[in-house]
Amino acid sequence: MNFIDYYKVLGISSTATAKEIKTAYRKLARKYHPDLNPNDSAAELKFKQVNEAHEVLSDPEKRKKYDQYGKDWMHAEQFEKAKESRQSGRGSGQYTYSSGDEGDFSDFFESMFGGFRQGGQSQRRGYKGQDFNANLQLDLREVYQTHKRTLTLGDRNIRITIPAGIEDGQTIRIKGYGGPGIHGGPKGDLYITFEVRNSTPFRREGANLFKTQEVPLTTAVLGGDLMVDTFDGKAKLKVKPLTQNNTRVKLGGKGFPKYKKEGEFGDLFITYQVALPKELTPEQKSLFESLKGTKL
């Protein structure tokens, strides 16, 4: 483990003021920032060192500790004392920091500030991992009820809950199921886009359903009861006498479940299509002729 001279990394003297540290950091960070140096691993490494130096030197407490023990850090006795006091201060009695991104900060930093890193995570400049996108095809019948489904993503199985009422084209985010974070940043997210196919006689608009229903001519003229199929069963309608073609009736709460509103449903709209006879018995024809005689 080599001693890292943070002052040298930032190109400043050990008596540098906070303003000088900040100025030096900003200058170097601009020079080596990974976004400004795409595909340049040397710049990325340098940016990491500059960040590390800045994290220590811009914090008066850490800088004091670094100035006190830094150059003579190999004097174990003193260093261990510092370590012990740090541990007792945290109350855990052990270092639990686990590095999932080896090489992010130096071993030297780890030794000096291992206890701080964990608590100081928010001060670090981590990058969120890549977001993943996936598509999932479902039938309209399947999204009528909330259900669970297991997806296979690479070598992982993810069990997700698909809320009833999800829309065609809707995307949901599964936090933390994307690519690994960079520089200790959080994992990316998984975005699942749903393709909801409809093979039912119902047309869907949000939580409302629409359907065309044939009505016998006599029922439309004289009125009567009519059984209709709803999405999850049947309903009996009272057809009013002299109902006109394309009359629309609403069945409140017989539509589709509302997304993430447990127990709430849209409406079902039925449009009547009066069925005209395609053939008549002699008796029916005679009756129609009688009606014709009444100038109907």
Partner: protein, 96 residues
């Protein structure tokens, strides 16, 4: 809302712990496009990678939105030049 193509500004800012005003300031200088879908301000999903780069540059380097305009333009040029260099190298390798 066709959420496949867009992400709401509110969601984006919540996810990145960001003030919405920053997004609007980028829009004012025409760095990003903001659309209204179902009365909600949204960002096209295709702009997400670029927007996240702008957020990092703003946070890490304290670059103001106005200066991000120049940086973004230069970065696009760098990317396109890098691609060109790679393509030329590949062609050159065929002759060597």
């Amino acid at each position: 809302m066709n959420v496949k193509k867009y992400i709401s500004i509110t969601d984006f800012c919540r996810g990145h712990a960001l003030e919405e005003s920053f997004i609007y300031s980028l829009h004012e200088i025409e760095l990003i496009e903001i659309r209204q879908v179902e009365a909600k301000p949204v960002i096209p999903r295709r702009d997400l990678r670029r927007l996240e780069r702008l957020v990092r540059l703003h946070r890490d380097l304290e670059i103001s939105p106005e200066n991000l305009l120049a940086v973004d333009h230069l970065l696009d040029q760098v990317e396109s030049l890098q691609e060109e260099v790679l393509a030329l190298r590949r062609r050159l390798n065929r002759w060597e």
